[in-house]
Amino acid sequence: MIPKGTGASETDVTWEDQQNINKFGRLNNRFHELEDEIKFVKETIDNLEDASNELILTDEDVVRFQIGEVFAHVPKEEVETRIEEMKEVSSKNLEKFEEEKESVVAQMGELKKVLYGKFKDSINLEED
């Protein structure tokens, strides 16, 4: 786990310190969740790219497009439009996640400064 006092010093822990430690823990969890989400969205975008490339190469007019659990017969143009829309949505999500990740990293950096400043060696905030 991240915050653990290892030294035998007598530094007092105030409620504010505890709240900072808690907040750091929450941010760290969120950071890992965001990394997973970003990986998933990037994979989705790659798949959509591959799909639209395949679409350009195919000469069929009707493409089997997955909706839910079935593959519906959809005309090629509609499939192109749908894939473009899905790519848009995924790109927007990716942007949103990357932004949130940057903010989380910045907040964690600030908290690290505060907590290391007070506790120095008594606290460990690094990834194990």
């Binding site: 915050p3 653990k4 035998a8 907040k23 929450r26 079935v70």
Partner: protein
């Protein structure tokens, strides 16, 4: 969502009693006062705190399992909603809707779905009910919203739980350090006493 959900304010109570059955961890201002309050010795206190930590871990496993369940359910509901919405859209065109569906692994069959106004929804427990397209859409949307709301509550519970775990871990470390400090003081006191005598 999570980054902004920190509940720190200068007026927040230092002992959050509990949340939906999860006992709150008491924040310790001063280790010595805490030990005299509980009238327990250091080892009993540490044992009590460790046990609390185990209980928290158990609850965390349970909540994580529930969260995984919900996270699997929500895309399923969305998929069903997609199909119903597509069927409704095709209704207007007058053409039949052709789809390939899986009969068994690797084997697909073609279905020709004529214009119609109703769909059957699987409700679970071997029950399937026929709904009109509009009713089906609204039911699925409602289920999806409920699932998402439950997921949010669950995530908030998990955050609360993790905070309590952190507080307990910090308290354990502080009690332990205080004990080590006390032993050191006693040792230096007895060694200087033996030197003097």
């Amino acid at each position: 969502m999570a980054a902004a959900a920190s509940s720190s304010s200068t007026e927040s109570p230092k002992t959050t009693t509990e949340r939906r059955g999860i006992p709150g961890a008491q924040f310790v201002e001063d280790v010595e006062t805490y030990l005299s309050q509980t009238a327990l010795d250091v080892n009993s206190t540490l044992a009590f705190l460790q046990e609390r930590l185990q209980q928290y871990k158990l609850v965390e496993m349970k909540l994580l399992a529930q969260q995984r369940g919900l996270q699997a359910k929500i895309p399923d509901i969305e998929k069903c909603l997609d199909v119903v919405v597509t069927l409704q859209a095709e209704k207007g065109t007058g053409e039949a809707f052709i789809a390939d569906f899986e009969v068994s692994e690797g084997i697909y069959s073609r279905a020709r779905i004529e214009d119609n106004d109703s769909v059957c929804l699987w409700l679970g427990a071997n029950v399937m009910l026929e709904y009109s397209c509009e009713e089906a859409t609204s039911l699925l949307k409602k289920n999806s919203e409920n699932a998402k709301a439950s997921l949010e509550v669950l995530i908030a519970d998990l955050q609360f739980l993790r905070d309590q775990v952190t507080i307990t871990q910090v308290t354990i470390a502080r009690v332990y350090n205080w004990d080590v400090h006390q032993r050191r003081i006693r040792q230096t006191a007895t060694s200087s006493a033996t030197k003097d005598s």
